[in-house]
Symmetry: D2
Subunit: 362 residues, 4 copies
């Protein structure tokens, strides 16, 4: 249970890291949308392993195959099934995981929950699971772009203690993709890359922050009181592997401000209600207000490290884990399309809901 996301645009993912394949079923995609695997592949390529020297060296083509729901290049309104094969599995690299619980991985908690686990490469808990999300979100992004003019963009805001300051209003996908760490501040990006390489060499790992912005979102998306836009975004983001924090607007930064400092004054611009500032991050009362939606996701440092760590084995014996295997010293560059994916899935779901509830996007 728990492998479906969304209410009207419903995404169900499946697959383990070292099973035969991973995939997704999209139910609720509007009919008539032009979709081919070419629409999906670019984001899968941004997510895939082995894309640069600072990611894991597992080699996967991650080619998306669309098995249903598209006919003569157009969506049918029926479920879209997308499958990606697992090829470079090297299961035996992971033999050491078979009996020992890796610290801060999901080995123990999966075993405790299910009484069984696929111990090869993290099984279902592997970030490989996000392929289905990213593939589905590529479809979602196309809907958002074509039908609503909404554009979603994420980037690395922070790695370890290296923080970039990004101008949300002008940042572009080209800025993001111009370096392998996906930080639009090119100077800071170099420092981040350098630090990640240091971590990799020392067998350690780093965390960081992804910031994401959605532009062109109409006012009126979000369903209080429980399906507030921020609530669904928070759920989406926190469901990503290694994510431990979420902010909307100024987030925790709002705490040390007073109301008079934080409030966003309203004014009129071109016949539209706008706010002078956007400390609210485009969401008020859980509903979009027409300004840019801004969120941040905190990722802990990768749990896989190469040094020796204290642990226990399945039989409850004290043991030592000697780190091995391919891994990402820092997941942030690959987390960028994942955060975009969750944002896209939430927005398209709420856009469809709102159209149903009111007959318009207001």
């Amino acid at each position: 249970m728990g492998n479906t996301f969304g209410h009207m645009f419903r995404v169900t993912t499946w697959g383990e890291s070292h099973g035969d394949a991973v995939g997704v079923v999209i139910d609720g995609c509007p009919p008539g949308l032009a979709i081919t695997s070419d629409d999906i592949q670019p984001d899968l390529d941004r997510r895939k392993p082995g894309q640069s020297k600072i990611t894991t060296q597992r080699k996967e083509g991650d080619k998306a195959e669309i098995l249903s729901g598209v006919f003569q290049g157009r969506t049918l309104g029926t479920p879209i099934s997308i499958v990606v094969s697992n090829n470079d599995q090297r299961g035996k690299d992971y033999d050491y995981m078979q009996t020992k619980f890796r610290p801060s991985h999901a080995d123990f908690s999966y075993q405790a929950k299910y009484g069984i686990r696929n111990w090869k490469g993290g099984g279902r808990a592997s970030a490989r699971e996000t392929i289905g999300r990213v593939a589905a979100a590529a479809v979602a992004k196309k809907i958002l772009s074509e039908e609503y003019g909404i554009e979603i963009l994420a980037y690395v805001k922070q790695v370890w203690n290296i923080v970039a300051e990004i101008d949300l209003s002008s940042v572009s996908i080209d800025d993001v993709e111009s370096n392998i760490v996906r930080c639009p501040d090119q100077q800071i990006a170099l420092k981040m890359i350098d630090q990640i390489e240091k971590a990799r060499k020392s067998g350690d790992s780093l965390g960081g922050v992804v910031e994401a912005v959605a532009r062109g979102v109409p006012a009126g998306l979000g369903d209080p009181v429980f399906d507030k836009l921020e609530a669904d975004l928070a759920k989406g983001v926190l469901s990503l592997p290694a994510c431990k924090g979420f902010e909307s607007g100024l987030g925790f930064g709002a705490v040390a401000m007073t109301g008079s400092e934080h409030n966003d004054p309203f004014y009129m611009e071109d016949g539209r209600v706008r706010t002078r500032t956007n400390r609210s991050g485009g969401i008020q009362g859980g509903i979009s207000n027409g300004e840019d939606i801004v969120i941040r996701a905190a990722f802990k440092p990768t749990a896989t490290i190469l040094g020796n760590q204290e642990t226990v084995d399945e039989d409850g014996n004290a043991s030592t884990l000697e780190g091995r295997g391919r891994h990402d010293p820092c997941v942030l560059p690959r987390a960028v399309p994942m955060v975009e994916a969750m944002m896209a899935l939430v927005l398209v779901d709420h856009a469809i809901r709102q159209r149903g509830q009111t007959g318009s996007l207001v």
Copy 2:
């Protein structure tokens, strides 16, 4: 849409701030639980307005009336309907809200979404909406306590820039309730109260952070990949009014650590797998690991302030809002039972799910 929370323990809230009443329907409460309104009232009293000099002075008894689902003092397994009347409404205090959008409130976004709004006191966007959540969670807490031995406790960790350091392992409900700001550090609490009073006098407002801990949670709760425990907790917390951020474990604080600094080593204690540290906050791979679950919620400063603010009216004219009306200069003391509520609702839902899926709590 969006007013139901939970999958097996389902809570549906209803009601506007200045309507006749607010309430909740609980569907999925296990049968046979001893429940009276006395189980519900204490948390409603912790949540209610007018409880101290640092909260809004609206006077409400907030008495819970149970209309169904309980028979001769025991739950039937059928829906439990709980209603709380609205009494001290003073609707006309809010006449000034009728046409002008209050900055950083939900007035504009509700109007944009629905094309209509109950402008009296914030309508559905008022924190008064949380009465239903708190009432339902009182039932949830009792189940968690009696059937699983789980205890949930929240407190104010930070107000404005005043931060308390709390020992998670020893903090008690008495510590929390020993002062009106609900911060267990009594010295810091005095500073917080003082600062809130200053804000009230100057017509301004403050935000802050609530920290919550759940003790006694068995390993195995949480349904990856989308209904991870952290994902559902994040959704629950972010669905609270004025909440803009969520952390699990070290949250954003994990970002500046390396993997070797952050990982929680496993060891055996009394035949049980434990972690030496609890940087993960009791959740790994989205599933509880048996350690204390620790989360934090960031609340922005209350949007209601007394000074003049730039705004626009419903007709799109520039205008000035002159702040009036009763309000909370700082929602934090009253947010404590709300955060506890969302944590309880998430945990009881996952406990029931897990029991269904595996026949045991593992």
Copy 3:
């Protein structure tokens, strides 16, 4: 669990027959709809007990009180909470039910499921539970009528072995309401009434069939493969007390026909695709085709009868039940608004879904 119906127009009912009240929360009602209790009362009056000599003589005003979700006469888009008090409860009339399981009632199965039950008057299993459905459906009917031009009408088609032949194309609400058994064939109605009175006098009970038609339904409603229009209608109808069968179109009557006899040829009329016959009952492939939707619901004879019946008590002792208490000798007249209700709830839900999925009603 299981007390919510619908995906976008969500109805949650609550209440036991002899508790304080019964009610419903509607979540997902489009905003801006003019609604007062006057829109709801007529259908509650058609459903209420004591309305004629052939229904139970329990006296209830069944006055609907709207507690939320409507502001200045218009729906807000927020949850609509409707409550109806229980007045004429006469709990002690039902003392004999306290320990003995009434045959073919839900006493035993509720006890087996929950380990507890409200034995007064059937508790949650009482048809009194349908008040919430009928109230919610009154709102649904208004949406269907005003926004889509859809009209729903049900009537008694059969009581015991007395069957009416009704012209679906011309039958009107006035025809239905012109007699107390709600059969539009006035001659047959007299026979039905006579038979019901005979059953009442002899302490026995009768079953029957309600037929319902929805006119003006656009083509395109229904979500294959599981949420086919017929599937959701069947679920809605079978969730009514005492209902044991469902048919769409010719239903079981189609079985003895060949394909060439059953198929509905297409032709054009006024630029619209029509079918020459409507053996499909307006639904093909689980999706409405623009013709009248026709369904039938079979109700078993009321389980409450006055003679002595073999049964057992809660302690597992053989016993005899001596029938007493007020009851309906035939539920059919009061089942008419219930079947209409479920049809309306299904159609409005699918209309909202379809508008969301395609931006139009096609």
Copy 4:
């Protein structure tokens, strides 16, 4: 939307008749269950085309491939993805469907709903869609059998006007599978086969009734008021292609009885509450009472026939359809595993729910 069934045991199917493949994702399967494709294949073989002279001659191996959720022969508790390739597609056989709407098929209603359709072989509306259901139900049946001792069995009760009388208490899978029409009455079966062959030769088609029984179901399954066991069974059955009617217990046959004739008296047997008769079909108040659950499903005659039929084309021109293509003259033999499938999916879902809600199967 609408391609997921179940609340705790969730089945999502995908695929068009003449796409690359069809399949299913099962979410919520309990962990630790021994499953291989050998558990799934037998029911797929009972469902598959070309199995006898009275079914369509399309040739498909319908081999199930399990891509995830099973590890070393045991379920992981993670989603189980099962894929079946489409091989013998002969798309061009269906060219004639491209522009003309086949009467009583879903061509027109799909086009009206989605504005597009896969016209090859019925696309998503083809009974080929049920492969995913049958595969998932094979897993469900194994859970029901191993964990609960529940056995599900369906058979053909009626073809056209040829009706079999079956002893529900003694009928076995061997009786059912002993002839190609799957009617346990061997004499009647011969007549049915003969009639189906006549229909096939004359290019016509026949409908019929499938009856299904579930034995060993404990009392207590079903979630009133909307998710009553009968309501979910009715939904499941009516979601099958060509199904137009549903009965529980005596169904429409109960209508002509009086209450005193229909009620099932209770008595004790071996310390268990039993009913002398089972007119209720094992369900009272929407909850199983421990007796055999008995349902019936009515299937209309197959819409595909070989004669000329009046129709219209996509452009709204009057036209004549000349029937061609492979088809089933009578779906009943292949509908048997489909009805079993829906019954199994409903029962396993409610068994898991009940275990969650009460911690036991009562």
